[in-house]
């Protein structure tokens, strides 16, 4: 069994600890993921290491972190695919750090809430009665379903260069979700949604770096959603 060196970012504000890196030697076997390596460290070497994880199968989005400089899901990244004997693990960029590899997602979720990620209907009575169905054709579904695969892992937010400098920019995840609901044929809030991002930095500061789409583990392609949304705002808002 071979060994890999894990260089892990450590930070504990409760103990007045400064930011530093700690190195661990982790035995690896074929098919082992970065998350498994971190859990090995937590279980056998250093139980004080703080990490966030849950499903272990790239569905929940909890284990997002910087792995060798790129935002990735730790459960979805094989150590052997990194092709290196040294794995550098850090908390996601563009987020405040709570402790070690655990990032604070408050601002991320606040921006998501701001875009009203639910269907807006004029006929709220029918919506609340819930004994009817809103019919949707395959073509109508195809227009938005790709963007509905988002698991809110936050990797796109970490990769975005505009999020790093502009606090008012909503970020790729929130904007992709705004378009997801805009494109949904069941939604009747188009005017309200478009007006909300027609001004200021919320949408129009995107420079189409497209790093969000590059790092998305679910193929959501937020860059595409943002460009489609930009077209709608420029032509319709």
């Amino acid at each position: 069994m071979s060994e890999v060196e894990f260089k892990v970012f450590r930070y504990d504000p409760a103990r007045n600890g400064g930011k530093h890196y700690q190195t661990y030697k982790v035995p690896v076997r074929k098919g082992m993921t970065v998350l498994q390596g971190l859990l090995y460290i937590k279980e056998r070497l250093d139980p004080t290491l703080a990490i966030r994880f849950s499903c272990r199968m790239a569905t929940c989005g909890s284990c997002g972190m910087m792995v060798n400089g790129l935002p990735r899901l730790a459960c979805y990244t094989l150590i052997e695919e990194l092709k290196t004997r040294r794995v550098v693990v850090e908390p996601l960029r563009n987020y405040p750090v709570i402790r070690d590899l655990v990032a604070d997602f408050s601002e991320f979720f606040e921006k998501h809430r701001w875009v009203k990620p639910y269907l807006i209907r004029i006929d709220t009575y029918t919506q609340e009665k819930s004994n009817t169905s809103y019919l949707q054709s395959d073509e109508e579904l195809e227009r938005y379903v790709q963007f509905a695969y988002c698991i809110k892992c936050g990797l796109c937010y970490a990769a975005c260069p505009v999020v790093a400098s502009d606090k008012e920019f909503l970020g790729p995840q929130a904007l992709a979700q705004l378009y997801r609901y805009l494109a949904d044929s069941r939604d009747e809030g188009a005017g309200e949604r478009l007006a909300s991002v027609a001004d200021g930095h919320k949408l129009l500061r995107c420079h189409f770096a497209a790093s969000c789409s590059k790092v998305c583990p679910k193929g959501v392609d937020p860059a595409l959603a943002i460009q489609l949304l930009r077209r709608e705002v420029l032509l319709r808002a």
Partner: protein, 121 residues
């Protein structure tokens, strides 16, 4: 206040028009006149001052000035406002780039008008 989305639409439109106007400008210099003649000041029918003599060509230079001033300074405004976000700072940046852009447009227009008068017989 102009809405941000309208400013961005103008930014895209001026970007495309700059390509067109710039292309026309370069074409008239390089394709429609002998290169050596076009670099002379005023001693040839194709010289620099002949551009200002012709009202259409002078007008195209003015159009290019307006397009580049808007596109460039709006771009600068966007860059500066991305680096820092504060209400007073944003207003100050918008005002500053507007003033500088207007000043350059006024100076450039003055230059074109003077050159046109000097070039006219």
């Amino acid at each position: 206040m102009i809405r941000e989305k309208n400013l961005m639409l103008l930014h895209y439109i001026t970007g495309v028009l700059i390509l067109v106007a710039g292309g026309v400008h370069l074409s008239t210099v390089f394709l429609l006149s002998p290169y050596e003649e076009s670099m002379k000041f005023d001693s040839s029918p194709f010289a620099v001052m002949s551009v200002y003599r012709n009202v259409l060509l002078a007008g195209s230079l003015e159009a290019l000035l307006l397009l580049v001033a808007f596109h460039g300074f709006n771009g600068l405004r966007v860059i500066l406002q991305e680096l820092y976000q504060g209400k007073t700072y944003k207003k100050a940046v918008s005002l500053a780039v507007t003033i500088v852009a207007l000043a350059l447009v006024v100076y450039g227009t003055r230059t074109i008008l003077i050159a046109h008068q000097l070039a006219s017989p």
